[in-house]
Each structure stands twice: as structure tokens, then as C-alpha cells.
Symmetry: C2
Subunit: 505 residues, 2 copies
């Protein structure tokens, strides 16, 4: 079988490849037939040159045209849904329904349509006009955006279709997508539809480019390249931090979504009032997509006592009665084993699970540790165990809960369950300010999985959940502002101003 072509400079062409790779079917462990190239620097260089030219055209196109592209692309994805669902299922083992076909694919096209609406609306640019001084400013496209998609959302975070892609394009930037090597075929199908929509709507041909895989050193070189405007990355902390260092060294904006434990604190009143319901919600959230969400609750904080023991026993029973399915890849399975070992070695005790089951499956896992134990090894015990494993921290009292919260790293989300009649309010008032500063999204009485695509969403948070606490990856138009620069026009003659900055506005 011949290698799949890459999408570069307005054409599907053979990669300049250093080697080839195959994706695996994680459910069967079998190598999938299609061959994909690992691109060399020559492909990266060609992408950067073509993107630079496309950027110059895109930044002066009418927003209507960009919106038409995003809408048309959404329609084309819907038209090819059956094939996309088959491809993603084969490459990720995620269920075809409801997950891939009924949840993630519609979310993806919804994001593209919200981005289209925001491009048309134009308020994302935050124009400010001082007519008296004749000084005006707005946010403007930053230039080519490189998007690295993660393994866990083959559509909604895909480099060539997901949230970063939609935000970057809607703000007027071309995208160079780096596929996740676990789902290259899904990415190829999406890129085909994106490129067809580019052609239909008359955008510059290199508005969308896509490569499958590159060597790590080329990734570092790419993010630091002068031709690039910004980078969006969703993935592992280790890879993300290396890219961040390379980008930071040359002052390149890089927006990262890295690991997150999404701590959930369950106050005593909530357990007393509705312990079984909370067990159900917690277990459901932990097992959603086998725990392979960036917002999966990896850490829960309980107050020592009978109710906490009952909660743990309840979760244990539920975890043991649910049958784990294959994880996203053999890499995820290995990494989960390694993380659970780090947690155990650092003092966490296994309540249930803890072992691989073969076939890229891992036993549903709960660990526990006392507040003292957590504080003695707080860094190690915040190792992300990406997958179906979670750690319960059982604290002695409110003071120790506060101490645990103040040792938390930055997270995307954090939640607090409390009694509905006010019995936990004093505890909430004491503890919630500490949690608030460590998370991007604070929840009440609700598990963190499920990221609504609304302008009010923050899918971001303090380091190391992301690289900057001021930005979000989900939520239009805020997510678009990541891919812009602030441009001021001082005494610029009226006919030379961008339309949105002219006096009539």
C-alpha cells in the first residue's frame, strides 16, 4: 500500500518522509493497513512558506468568506459522518455511538459554526476608537497557527477540525495541523473535507495544511520559527513543556492544554444528604471515555469518617461492576500503569484495580491516601494517571483540607459538593477561595466532565494545566483572541484604516 499524501501548499502530495508509520486498532491490537509518512523538515519548511503567503491574503478577506468556509466545512463533515465514525472508531476504540457519532462529531461541527458566527459578528476584535486623538486599536490575525491535536478527541480537538483550528481560522489565520499519530486516517478524512471547503469558498489554498507526524526536534524547530504566529497544543505535559520552552525562548505565543487532575472536594454534608447519588455521579464521571478526558476527576478530597468510608466502598463496588474497554492506545495503557505505580510508590494505597488486563485494557482503579500522606508527597501524588484511575485523599479536618488545597498545582477544573440546606456553607466559605485560585472552572455539585461549548466556558487554568491563566481553549470568541495581536493605529489616514476602525463605527 502506498503512503498517504500530506496536504501542503494547496495540494495533496507525497511527503518528504524520513520513515513511515501505521496506526493501531487499540481494541484488537492490530496494525491498521494504511501507511503514513513521518515528514522531514522540508515538509515543515514548505508548510511555513505557503502559510505565510496564505496569511497575507486571509487577513484582508471579508469575514463573510471565512464564515462560509467554516460553515461549509461543518456541512461536509456531517455528509461524511459514517466514514468518519468508522475511521475514528478503528483508530481510537471509542464507541461509535453515542460518543463519536452523536456527541463528538456534532460538538465539532457546532464549534465550527460558532466560529463562523463569531467571524461574521466581528466583536472578537474588541475595537477601541479614540476619535479625538485619532488613535484606534483592535485585535488582528497573528499569522500562521500550528495546531497539535491530542489523542483523546479525534474530531473536537483535532488539529485540522477542532477548537483551536476553528478559533485560529475564524480570527483570520491559516492553520498548519499536526495530526495525532494515533488517528492519522481520521485526520486525513477531515483534512480532505477542509481542503474541499477551502476550494469551494475561494480561500487561499494553503489556509489549511496537514502533516501526520514529525521528529521531536522538528517540532521544537517549528514552534520557534519566525514565520509562525502562534501554537496551539493539547497533549501530554512532558511534550508540551518542551515545546513551550522552545517557543518561550523566542517570545512565540504558545497555548497549551496539558495535564489536569480536576480535584473534586466532597463536603461532609453532601455525603450525609445524598452520598449514593454522589457515588454514582463520581463513578460515572471517572469512567466516562475510560477516564480519558482532560477533565476527568483524578483527585477527590473527602473528610475522614464513616461517610467517607461508605463513599469509597460505594465507588469501589461500582468500579468493580463496570467492565473496562480498551484505552486509546498501547501508549496510554503503558503510561497509566506507570502512573499508578508512581502513586503507589508515593504512598497511595490501592482500593481496587491497579493492573493491566491485556488488550489495552486496565482495571478500573481507585487509590486512597490520608491527608498526612498526601502532604508528605504532594508533588508525586499529583501525577496524572490518564485513564480509568483516580485518587481519594481523606483529610482529617478543615485545616488539613485547606493545606491540601494550597498544595494543589494549577488545574482546568475543581469542584465542591455541599449540602443543599446550608450545613456545609461555613466549610465552603473557608475552602472555596483556595480552590478558586488553582482552577480555571469552579463547579458546584457537578462533575467536571462535559465541557459545554458556550462563550461563558473557560477550558483553561493556571500552570501547569495550561501555560497562561488568562486564556481558554473552548468558548468563542475568547478562544479566538489567543491567535491575535493587538494592533494600534495612530494618526493613520482614514482610507488606510481597517473598516472596523473607521469613524462611522
Amino acid at each position: 500500500m502506498s503512503q498517504s499524501p500530506v496536504l501542503l501548499a494547496g495540494q495533496w502530495r507525497a511527503a518528504d518522509a524520513s520513515s513511515i508509520f501505521h496506526a493501531d486498532n487499540p481494541a484488537t491490537g492490530e496494525k491498521l493497513p494504511a501507511e503514513f509518512p513521518v515528514s522531514t523538515w522540508a515538509d515543515c519548511d514548505a508548510a511555513l512558506n505557503a502559510a505565510t503567503e496564505a496569511a497575507a491574503v486571509l487577513r484582508i478577506l471579508p469575514p463573510e468568506q471565512i464564515a462560509r468556509f467554516l460553515t461549509r466545512y461543518a456541512e461536509r463533515i456531517e455528509a461524511r459522518k459514517a466514514e468518519l465514525v468508522e475511521a475514528a472508531h478503528a483508530e481510537t476504540a471509542l464507541p461509535k455511538a453515542p460518543r463519536l457519532g452523536e456527541v463528538e462529531l456534532p460538538r465539532t461541527t457546532n464549534q465550527l459554526r460558532q466560529a463562523a458566527a463569531a467571524a461574521l459578528d466581528g466583536s472578537w476584535a474588541m475595537p477601541v476608537i479614540d476619535a479625538k486623538l485619532n488613535i484606534r486599536s483592535m485585535l488582528a490575525p497573528l499569522g500562521p497557527v500550528l495546531v497539535f491535536g491530542p489523542n483523546n478527541f479525534p474530531y473536537a480537538y483535532n488539529g485540522v477540525a477542532g477548537g483551536d483550528f476553528a478559533a485560529a481560522i475564524a480570527a483570520g489565520n491559516p492553520v498548519i495541523a499536526k495530526a495525532h499519530p494515533c488517528h492519522p486516517n481520521t485526520t486525513r478524512l477531515l483534512a480532505e473535507e477542509a481542503f474541499a471547503a477551502v476550494g469551494e469558498t475561494g480561500l487561499p489554498a494553503a489556509t489549511v495544511q496537514m502533516i501526520y507526524h514529525i521528529a521531536p526536534e522538528d517540532g521544537l524547530r517549528l514552534v520557534a520559527d519566525k514565520r509562525l504566529g502562534a501554537v496551539g497544543f493539547t497533549g501530554s505535559r512532558a511534550a508540551g513543556l518542551k515545546l513551550k520552552a522552545a517557543a518561550d525562548a523566542v517570545g512565540k505565543p504558545i497555548y497549551l492544554e496539558l495535564s489536569s487532575l480536576n480535584p473534586v472536594m466532597i463536603l461532609p454534608g453532601a455525603l450525609a444528604e445524598r452520598g449514593e447519588k454522589v457515588v454514582e455521579e463520581f463513578t460515572g464521571s471517572c469512567l466516562m471515555a475510560n477516564g480519558q478526558f482532560c477533565t476527568s476527576p483524578g483527585l477527590t478530597i473527602l473528610f475522614a469518617g464513616d461517610a467517607a468510608e461508605k463513599f469509597i466502598a460505594g465507588v469501589k463496588a461500582k468500579l468493580e461492576s463496570a467492565a473496562p474497554t480498551a484505552l486509546l492506545s498501547s501508549g496510554v495503557a503503558k503510561s497509566l500503569s506507570a502512573s499508578v505505580k508512581i502513586l503507589s510508590d508515593a504512598g497511595a494505597e490501592l482500593v481496587t484495580g491497579g493492573s493491566p488486563l491485556g488488550g489495552n485494557r486496565f482495571a478500573n482503579t481507585l487509590l486512597r491516601v490520608s491527608g498526612d500522606g498526601f502532604l508528605a508527597a504532594a508533588e508525586k501524588l499529583q501525577t496524572e494517571a490518564f485513564g480509568n484511575a483516580s485518587l481519594a485523599v481523606v483529610v482529617r479536618d478543615a485545616a488539613q483540607a485547606a493545606e491540601v488545597l494550597s498544595h494543589l498545582e494549577g488545574n482546568l477544573t475543581g469542584g465542591i459538593y455541599s449540602d443543599t440546606t446550608g450545613k456545609d456553607d461555613a466549610l465552603y466559605e473557608k475552602l472555596s477561595p483556595l480552590l478558586r485560585l488553582r482552577v480555571g472552572r469552579l463547579l458546584n455539585d457537578k462533575m467536571p466532565t462535559g465541557v459545554a461549548v458556550t462563550p461563558a466556558m473557560n477550558h483553561g487554568g493556571p500552570f501547569p494545566a495550561t501555560g497562561h491563566p488568562g486564556f481558554t481553549a473552548v468558548g468563542i470568541p475568547a478562544a479566538m483572541r489567543r491567535f491575535t495581536m493587538l494592533q494600534c493605529f495612530d494618526n493613520v489616514r482614514p482610507h488606510r484604516l481597517p473598516a472596523v476602525l473607521r469613524d462611522k463605527n
Copy 2:
């Protein structure tokens, strides 16, 4: 004479000092009498602890109280104007009038009052409410902000009174100010008024803290400390990049204003139409404050020909007829000599000046280089010569002008002068898009010095002018957003929401 105390944890107290230093009077070269301490890590640590406590109180204070503080502080600065002007004049050699008393001090109090108005107004927080999903978000205070002030604006950028200070406080964060060691006494006077205003308006006592000087390694440790929310730095590229690396490594937001050449391109029609006027504007801008503005025009691009030669000769004559005064410090004088040597060694030819004159003065300097010469050493020839020196690049034609522009680093500003009847319009259309991407503020027919304090201002720009092209250091409320985090509230019970996120809004 005893050491001046530092302002830490709500009191003026003796520093934990490793050594002492004095400021110089740059006009006379004499050491000024007051002794100031170089603080050890113990002082930094105390400041961080006190700021953490103050932050928790400040973030829930009514905005009216923060506004009252900023207003009261402005009034107190005005009441102590005579003493502040004497102090700053002695430490910087900047003229008492108009510069210090009539321009910079009013600008500083204006900034504080604009910040007060923005704190009251509240729209800086950009609240977004999705009442249907009960998801809400806003920008919220980030935590203690460390502000490093520069040497060149003893009031308007001072760590304890300037734009970063005002923006950080207005957004609800305490400030730890690091004085610039060239004007410690001015900073002490300002800090006294700030602290008195803190007391009068009932803010937490550690809302404002100030230390004079620290060892470089303590600076790196400070910016990386977990207790700190963010950093504002205005100063040299070398120092700024070291702090940036330390902050980036731990994902700490750091906002830098570093070097900038502020290129001005003068198109042929403008010279033909009003060459003498442009000579006058350019020279005036170059010599303003002895060229010690971050927006001083350090690079001008001319098109080869008689008009360019006449422009250069005109500037030469004006520079030679103006008497240079003392630079801000002996350090600035030394650094200017060194930079001019780098430019000369890289192929620039001296048109006039180029030598120190004694008494911390430097001859008004113009250098020139051809477009070919510039392109052969583009990096070295973009060395900032902070002070009264500027480089003219004489390009062959439009193509070479485009090439020169595409080799420019990021700058705060860039300007284009063109004929008023449209003769330069084709050149403008070709060249301005290239300049636009490399600068934060694009000017027409106007020199870059003079940064109006208006919401439409962008005093920022692409790296290495700053660390991120999306933020501005001047212009309320945009400047405040640097010191915030995005906080989302998902399903949070109504009475627990910040007031601005409740349904009635």
C-alpha cells in the same frame, strides 16, 4: 547617615540588607547622600507572605475602596510635587520643567485616576453569563504583582506609582515594587504617599510594598515564586530576558517592555513635499529626553537619492546645533558608547557624533548604512543605542525596503511618512503590511515619541519589544487584563457568585 527603610508587610522597617548603595546625580557625577539597602531574600520572602495575605482581602473589597485609594494617592502625589520634582531631577538629570513637573507627574496622576475610574466601572472584567447553562465567567485578580520600574520614567513607570502599578492595583492585586536603583529616593517619596493613601482608605496594609534593590539571583527566584501572581518589567532586554526565562519555566505570566528601535520609514514623496518639516520632527523626536524614551526613533528608512541626502544633512546640522545634556546615569552613557561601537563595527558609518563628551553626556549621533549593508548585518544593526543616537538605512528601492522591513525584529512602534496628495500611496500599500506585523502601534506622518494615555493606545508589540504581542502596558482597561486570570463558575449557587456574575446582570 542611616539606611533608608524598606516598606514591607505594612511598615517602614530596616531592610535585611546584604550591602548598601547610593544613587548618583548624573548631571554632576556626584554620589547623592542617602544610603539605600540591597535587600536579601529574607525581605523578598517577607514581601511575598504579606502580599499573599493582602491579596486575599483585596480580591473581595468593593471596587469603590480601590478607586478611592488610587484617587487619594494621585492627590497626595500632587501635594508633594515640589519635593518629588527635586528628588527626581537630582537622580535623573531630567529637566524639572516641563518634563518632570508639567508632563510626567501629571501623566502619572492621570494614569492613577483612569485606573480608579476603570476599577469603578468594572467592565475590564469582561463578564460573560450563560444563564441557561448556568455557566459564567469573568477576569479576576491574579495575585501579588511584582513590578520592576525602569530608569527612564521616575514617576510614570515607577514600580510604586506607574502604569503597571496602577493597572495591577485597579484589577485588585497587591503590588511589590522593585525600585530602579538609579532613583531610589524618588521611589521612596512615592511609596510614602502610596502607603499613606493605603492607610487613609483602609486597604490591607501590604497592598503596597517596596524594596530598593536586590541581587540578580533573588530577582530570578522572586519571579518564579509560587506566591506571586504575575510580573511587570520595563527595562533592558538582557535583564528582561533572564527574568522571562525564569518566569516561563514555571508558567508565571510576565509582561515585559524591552528594547525597541521604533523604525520610521520616510517615503520619497514626503521628503519632496515637506522635507524640512520632517527633518525638524525627526530630530525633535530623537532628542526628546536625550533619546531616552522607549519610543525614540532609533532607525529611519530612507530611499536613496538627493532628497535622502538632504534629509541626512539637515538632521546632521540640527543634531550638531543642539547641546546634549547629561544622560540618565553613567551606566546609560557607557552602554550608549558600547552600542554605537557595535553599530559602527557592523558597518554603519558615523554622520555626526559618536563620542562621549564627559559628564555623562554623549554627542548627538547619527549613523547611516546602505540597504545592502543593513541586510548583511541585520541583527547587529538592530542593536538598541538607548540615548541620543539613531541609524539611517538608505535603501535602493521599494524591493529593498520590503526586504529591510521583513528583517526587522518586533518593535513597539513603526511609522510611515508619505506625501499628502497620494503620490506615495502605491509604496505605502506595498510596504505598510510588512511593517504592520512587526509593530504594536503603526503611525502615519507622526513621530513615535509621546504615548497618549487612552484606552485606544497600544504600548506593546511583538517580541522582543515585549514578551507577547497581545498585551499593552499603557491604556486602561486593556493594561489591567494582564494581571488577571479567567475564572469560570459552572453551576455555582447564586449566593456564592461574584456580584457581577449574578442573574440581574
